[in-house]
Symmetry: C2
Subunit: 433 residues, 2 copies
């Protein structure tokens, strides 16, 4: 394709002018010529909808483009870029833009995880594109590879480090032996964690992304409330140190998998073997590991947040959607033909590594092993270590073979009630091995 700048300009509305929006505007304005050559038509930034036009902004933002009238803006453009976040007014504006015939690019994972189907149905009815590469794992191309590159394969499993804040926190705990609270404070001081880190550390942000990934990977609608979710707030410095001893690191994983019963989606901290590609993902980086029937293992790695990285993903979608409009075509829409059941967490196949504080006397292991056996849970290894800080006590670290989550959880509940058990110090799942 040779550059075609003679086509009519495509009008672009930008909703939101925060960290991401500012970078999107900068790219649109500073790279007009390259973008026009790549699209086959100029992209014209028609307006930037904000709540308050008087707020001081980056010098790159032309103030005459700012408007508080988002409704009028989306009524008269070819492409709507939504980077304002939150459910409303984002949802209403997106649906309004679609109804007016615009293609929509959004980075809004919360909205998609909650109301994706309504948006996709509206886009199908209007024959426009809805693209959302930036909603999962920031700059990393993962939506398009799953939807298009792997469209001829069968995805079995997706393991994602999709929240940079928690990866930074866990990585600092791993590298420097910090406790959870201290690591969060450090992350806040460096801008890697919000003042209220709940959405990140409780796994809610990762869960929204997991719902989006699972929907794509398995051609089945998965909503946020179907994702089992456990955050990293209970992970201790001790857990991290014990993980190291057994050749693991602790990562918060978004896990999407398909088995005979259906699709399972969960977010929780997990022990990942040192040798697994995900184990090397440090700092606030993200990575998505995909296991496909034919491709085998794949990993996609990069920055999961930040203005410019997220804007890169947004702009890739803008160029693709704009190319489609120039060609009078449409990209792949939602695919939900498989419509598989979404199964409970209890049916998941997992492996546990459990650390118990026990009375250091004969027969203890036998009694514990009996509980495992009676629940049908098979033990892979047992490691005993004296507890230096408490006379007459020992640590018992038990790694299980694979079993059903429900059976494993039940086993631990029963074990905890044995009189020889002083404390269940930690229960962590092992993934990626």
């Amino acid at each position: 394709m040779t550059a075609q700048k003679d086509s009519e300009p495509l009008k672009v509305a930008l909703l939101g002018c925060g960290v991401v929006g500012t970078q999107v505007a900068r790219i649109l304005l500073e790279h007009r010529d390259e973008l026009a050559a790549r699209v086959g038509a100029p992209l014209e930034l028609a307006g930037i909808a904000v709540r308050d036009v008087t707020v001081p902004r980056d010098a790159v933002i032309p103030t005459q483009l700012l408007t508080t009238d988002a409704e009028s803006l989306v009524d008269d453009v070819d492409i709507v870029i939504e980077v304002m976040g939150g459910i409303e007014p984002a949802r209403t504006l997106i649906l309004r833009g679609i109804a007016a015939g615009a293609s929509v690019i959004t980075a809004n994972k919360a909205l998609l995880a909650q109301d994706g189907p309504a948006i996709f149905e509206a886009a199908d009815a209007a024959g426009v594109d809805v693209a959302f590469e930036a909603a999962v794992a920031g700059a990393i191309p993962i939506i398009r590879p799953i939807r298009d590159s792997l469209a001829g394969d069968k995805i079995n499993r997706v393991l994602g480090i999709v929240n940079g804040t928690t990866n930074y926190v866990l990585d600092q705990m791993t590298k420097h032996g910090l406790g959870f609270e201290q690591a969060v404070k450090d992350a806040q001081a460096l801008g890697y964690a919000e003042a209220d880190p709940t959405a990140d550390v409780e796994g809610h942000d990762a869960a929204a992304k997991a719902a989006i990934l699972a929907s794509l990977a398995f051609h089945t609608r998965v909503s946020l409330d179907q994702v089992a979710c456990e955050g990293i707030t209970k992970v201790t410095a001790d857990d991290v140190a014990w993980a190291k001893r057994s050749g693991h690191v602790i990562k918060l994983l978004a896990i999407c998998e398909q088995n005979d019963e259906g699709v399972g989606v969960r977010v929780h901290p997990a022990l990942v073997p040192d040798t697994h590609p995900l184990a090397t993902v440090s700092d606030a980086f993200n990575a998505v590991f995909v296991e496909a029937a034919n491709a085998g293992p794949l990993m996609f790695y990069g920055q999961g947040a930040g203005g410019a990285p997220t804007a890169s993903a947004v702009m890739g979608d803008v160029v693709s959607s704009a190319r489609n409009r120039v060609a009078g075509a449409r990209g792949a829409g939602e695919s939900n033909y498989a419509n598989l059941p979404v199964v409970d967490f209890g049916t998941a196949s997992t492996r546990y590594q459990v650390r118990l504080s026990v009375a250091d006397k004969p027969g203890v292991l036998a009694r514990i092993a009996e509980v495992f056996a009676s629940n049908g849970v098979s033990i892979e290894t047992v490691t005993q270590a004296p507890r230096d800080d408490r006379d007459g006590s020992a640590y018992l670290v038990i790694a299980t073979h694979e079993g059903r989550e429900a059976a494993l959880a039940q086993t631990i509940e029963t074990v905890a009630q044995l009189d020889v058990i002083e404390e269940v110090m930690s229960v962590l799942r092992v993934e990626g091995s």
Copy 2:
């Protein structure tokens, strides 16, 4: 998009029935329903062109589909899948298919690196898709992410481990201290290297892939003869050991970069810091590391060869092209609008790590340093170590700052002629730091 199986079937011709072709046929036949749901129309395998229909084949191949008449086959289909390899008759058949209105999917890196432009121009003229995800890095989605996901960004550099054979050989040398010859023999025994490993170990295979990646990344045609290429045949067990001492591993890299002068493309062994994501890519795996202006660093990792992995990439392209045909649309064609000059290797910015065997006496370093200085090459570190195997000799390991390749090469040539130099043991470039 709900599944639409009511559209007319799309006829598919498969050219070649080797390791990859067999897997492509298997997927087409075993996953008809899923593929139909994803495409919106059934994919009908119309025929498989082979040289000899009597050769015994995998049971999955329906013998009635085999034909030696490839010409007639490509004249009457919607999609041509070319996995026969080699320049002819692949080139003629692809052009014939395009002329007849078929979209083409090919895994043929050698053909694309040599005759890509002719094929892309024919496809543009005919308004059909040419897709080639499988031509670079096997199963790894990298063509589509560069072409589409990063279409709104500016790629500065691509560093790729794109040849599994050489990565396996170098990894075995690193892990087990093997020499090059032994590692190649082991790789041959395990099927990771061909009986004649020249195309791999001399870097020719990687060079073809580098030309394709550079063309895409920089919107500029780059042909195979513009790629500077050096293989791994001179890498010794000693080099690998010394690399370890300085915190590096040796990888064969395909490097595509843009600077003020134009586009540079090269393939050579390089020292990669242990901490770089590419350093962890072991065995026969491939990975492509992309540095983009806004996205920052990205890495794509997976299997670079093999029947099923390559077939996964082929089938992703088949589904996408088929979707386009159902929609009456076309994917992004070749983009060469930037048309940048392709510059000589001598203009590249590189860093050297040089290991010299020198006379162990005062004043030697001063004389060597003088040569570096007079060529404008700045030294970063010098490490001296006694040579255990030779009295009166020492090793001198010199790491330079960044400089122009031509100046660095000239420096080493001059240094080699100094009488205090016994031998230039190795010259390796340092990348990724």
